[in-house]
């Protein structure tokens, strides 16, 4: 079957935009829904517990220097954002982004009774649960479950990875994980796989077996749609060489080719810096910043930055006081980054961490992470946050 027939047969509404990158088309040729509906959210997870205090450095606070004798970033090295806080020097690539007004820093995001275990805290962030509550679905998964106007496709949420995070798993619907659309397309076009799908309809009503077949069919149609929509798109931008930058490049390809996906998920690993933090974290922050800057500029050049919102989180911050191995141990509240072309409050969103009022050596949180999620659900993904988060959270004014 040729591609044109395939598209006709599968009922994907192409709106004439399937084969031409968005930036090459006059606006009036674009369907209305593509202008308004396709706001994208990109979630970036920093795994291991990124040390927020050496990321957004409170250089204006003496306590920071007292508590971090050997690993504090010197004031002259900090990329100053105001007279209190500035960025780690390895994040120079983001200075321009910040100056353009495409970046918001939210200080001290956390939750009550914080858990200091990696896996439990990551669980809490991915499910959006209270710290004494165990949910088996993720917050983006429950957004998919809500079956709203904007999340009806099987490829509504894509994770650029080999396996799917809990954040992306709902009760009835789940996101799709893929590192490379061409590879998934090849796998779903394997003759054996295709033969399995030549199925008698009888399966589709059976409970678990039906669910397996439904998953296969959705995987197959998503793989075709993603591959066919994105394969002709060629990015003109250059990206640094790193796995992380590659993931973002894939996301940009999807966004810029007009994929009707709402949520993308990527992660960067290695932030558990108990020992010799400076080099390790610096190296990761550099990868993060250079990849992110390239990604945002790429979106800008494709007129997609206004339709895109990027958030970055880590499962917890680190203790205010360094440890004896030139590293830091597990802590609590942490900063989050928000990027986009349509931020309401640019720059630093709220007060810098108070280092003189700690909870047994850890930062107290100012904002619950679910207020950040809730804001995005309400204002960006157009769903009622209480339906997804199981109770209503007050929204914030960053978008």
């Amino acid at each position: 079957m040729n591609r044109r027939n395939f598209l006709r047969n599968t009922g994907f509404v192409a709106a004439g935009s399937l084969f031409v990158p968005a930036f090459m088309k006059p606006l009036e040729a674009m369907a209305l829904d593509e202008l308004s509906l396709y706001k994208n959210l990109v979630v970036v997870q920093l795994s291991g517990g990124n040390d927020g205090l050496n990321t957004v450095v409170p250089f204006g606070n003496d306590i920071y220097y007292q508590k971090r004798k050997s690993i504090a970033i010197k004031p002259e090295e900090v990329i100053k954002l105001n007279d209190m806080q500035g960025l780690n020097p390895n994040m120079a690539a983001l200075q321009e982004i910040y100056d353009q007004g495409w970046m918001t820093i939210i200080n001290d995001v956390g939750y009550p009774n914080p858990d200091r275990s990696h896996f439990r805290s990551m669980d809490i962030w991915q499910t959006g649960s209270d710290s004494n509550q165990f949910l088996s679905t993720g917050w983006i998964g429950r957004y998919l479950d809500s079956n709203c106007q904007t999340c009806k496709f099987p490829y509504t949420a894509i994770e650029v990875d080999d396996s799917l995070s809990l954040a992306m798993k709902g009760q009835t619907k789940k996101g799709i994980a893929l590192k490379d659309p061409a590879a998934l397309f090849r796998n779903t076009n394997d003759p054996f796989f295709k033969a399995m799908l030549q199925n008698d309809k009888e399966h589709l009503d059976e409970d678990n077996l039906g669910y397996l077949y439904k998953t296969m069919i959705e995987t197959s149609s998503s793989a075709s749609y993603i591959q066919n929509t994105s394969k002709i798109y060629q990015s003109k931008s250059t990206y640094p060489t790193s796995g992380f930058a590659n993931q973002l490049k894939t996301v940009s390809k999807f966004i810029s080719s007009g994929l009707k996906t709402r949520v993308y998920y990527v992660s960067l690993s290695g932030f558990d810096t108990h020992v010799n933090q400076i080099g390790q974290q610096g190296n990761l922050l550099k990868q993060y910043s250079e990849g992110m800057a390239a990604f945002l500029k790429d979106l800008k050049s494709n007129n997609k930055l206004e339709d895109t919102l990027v958030i970055t989180f880590s499962e917890f911050g680190r203790r205010v006081e360094q440890n004896a191995s030139n590293g830091t141990d597990h802590g609590t509240a942490n900063n989050m980054f928000v990027f986009g072309g349509k931020l309401k409050k640019q720059g630093i969103f709220n007060a810098a961490p108070n280092l003189s009022d700690l909870d047994t050596g850890d930062l107290k949180y100012q904002l619950d992470f679910r207020q950040v999620y809730g804001t995005i659900l309400d204002k960006w993904l157009d769903v009622n946050n209480a339906d997804i988060l199981n109770k209503k959270f007050n929204t914030l004014d960053f978008i």
Binding site: G48, F119, D162, S163, A177, D200, E202, S269
Partner: protein, 480 residues
């Protein structure tokens, strides 16, 4: 009952109560009547063969060294090295322990005991960085897998792994920590909604002083125990931990909660409440005798009714163990088993949280299903792996220690690796009767009923070997 009928029932029993059955054994067993087969299964599983991978003496020595280092304020380089060395060793042994558990399930001739151990492994879900603690808890679950639930519950509650994981180590007179008391009721016994916050507070006081010592043995610290009067479920007394457990077991809700969970694990994701009640009443009246409950279940007609046959999604452990057992697979690089577990979402000894793995349809998403359908050809034909699981959050520290590891963890394309496993095809083919057709083999390998499509697919008479690889790659093979 026809012979064919019995054949299918025994096959179903062994898929649910164990990890499958060889054709030869199935032929032998299905000549007996079903009640006898169930008795046999229970008798075979009386054998208890604990895992003795982690050396008791060496672990105690390490624990004492760790305790010594922990009490020091500043460590010199020598001491730091020693501490890191211990952590490195523990991580390595933890991986070996995981593989030992998988191998035990693959090779056991007490399948019900191991299957039950896997059930308790998810029910009393726990993580411990200390492989000795983890092994001990796993053996507690194995030894009591089919015994008294009360004994099992008390031993789990006194195990250092659980005392540490649920912070009972920090639960002391005047400064109670309620974590253990809460999970004991919410997840281990009564279930949510069958107790009050007050019950949690009062029972937490009763467990004060339940701790483990520097060398990792249980100790009741009288001086940290709150011996005052507590009110628990309306009863008043100077309760201790054991009294609390007794009162919890007096409540039928506990037998219902456990019976429902057992039903969901062994019978169907959607519990039939009539059957659950029946099972729970039996469990309660037998004073929480687990073997008796299992026998009741395996001899009930409903256990074999069509809606309960070939309709459960195998957990990743059931899938990997079943496949390896079926084809006598040897893993020359056992590490691959860990990679497969974590990519499929069930890394044993590392549950997502104390609630265990949610199971059912949550095992399956597009990537995990695609991978499951490819694993049989990877394992049985030593194929190349082109996927990578995510790093476990607990491995982040290890990743952060080296630039190479960080680069690898974040690499888009991993170096190619092979499963490097061998199936023993001659042995497998030898278990099959002479003249078995591909279609008959298919009927044997799959639990769901065959449909026209599969029948057509396998009727083109490939050899048995390629039929087997093809069948195990089907979505139907994900069910049991």
């Amino acid at each position: 009952m026809s012979a064919k009928d019995n054949f299918l029932k025994v096959k179903h029993l062994y898929h649910r109560a164990g990890f499958g059955i060889s054709y030869a054994d199935l032929q032998k067993l299905s000549k007996k009547n079903l009640a006898k087969v169930v008795d046999n299964l229970l008798k075979d599983s009386q054998k208890n063969d604990p895992i003795n991978l982690v050396n008791d003496y060496e672990s105690k020595r390490q624990l004492l060294v760790q305790a010594g280092l922990y009490s020091k304020k500043d460590l010199n380089d020598e001491e730091k090295k020693m501490r890191q060395q211990i952590v490195r060793e523990q991580n390595e042994v933890s991986r070996d322990l995981n593989i030992a558990f998988i191998n035990k399930m693959i090779n056991t001739d007490a399948p019900l005991r191991e299957k039950m151990t896997l059930f308790w492994h998810g029910h009393f879900a726990c993580r411990s960085n200390n492989p000795f603690f983890a092994q001990q808890l796993n053996n507690i679950q194995r030894t009591n897998a089919l015994g008294s639930f009360k004994t099992l519950l008390i031993e789990v509650s006194k195990s250092p792994a659980m005392l540490q994981y649920l912070n009972n180590q920090q639960n002391r007179k005047g400064k109670p920590n309620e974590n253990f008391a809460r999970e004991l009721m919410e997840l281990f016994t009564l279930g949510r909604g069958n107790y009050t916050e007050q019950d949690i507070k009062e029972s937490a006081r009763s467990f004060t002083g339940w701790m483990y010592d520097k060398d990792g043995s249980f100790i009741f610290r009288q001086n940290l125990h709150d011996s005052g009067t507590k009110t628990f479920f309306g009863k008043i007394g100077n309760f201790e931990g054991e009294n609390i457990i007794d009162i919890i077991l007096e409540k039928p809700e506990t037998s219902q909660f456990i019976a429902r969970k057992v039903y969901k694990f062994f019978v169907n994701d959607n519990p039939n409440e009539t059957h659950v009640k029946e099972l729970a009443a039996h469990f309660y009246n037998s004073k929480y005798d687990i073997a008796s409950m299992m026998k009741k279940m395996f001899t009930s007609d409903w256990f074999y009714s069509p809606e309960n046959v070939g309709t459960k999604i195998k957990s990743p452990a059931e899938f990997l163990v079943g496949l390896s057992r079926e084809f006598y697979v040897t893993y020359n690089k056992p590490q691959v088993l860990i990679q497969l577990q974590s990519s499929l979402g069930q890394y044993l000894f590392n549950p997502p949280n104390v609630a265990g793995w949610p199971g059912g349809q949550s095992w399956i998403d597009s990537s995990s299903l695609m991978l499951r359908m490819r694993i049989p050809s990877l394992v049985l034909n030593d194929g190349e792996i082109d996927f990578s699981g995510k790093a476990d959050p607990e491995d982040e520290a290890v990743i952060a220690l080296s630039r190479t590891a960080t680069t690898n963890a974040n690499a888009n394309m991993k170096p190619k690796s092979y499963v490097n496993a061998n199936a023993d095809w001659p042995k497998f083919l030898n278990t099959l009767p002479k003249g078995l057709t591909p279609l008959e083999l298919t009927e044997f390998l799959l639990q769901p009923k065959l449909n026209a499509k599969i029948t057509t697919m396998v009727s083109d008479n490939k050899g048995l070997r390629s039929t087997a690889v093809e069948i195990t790659s089907m979505p139907e093979y994900q069910l049991c």
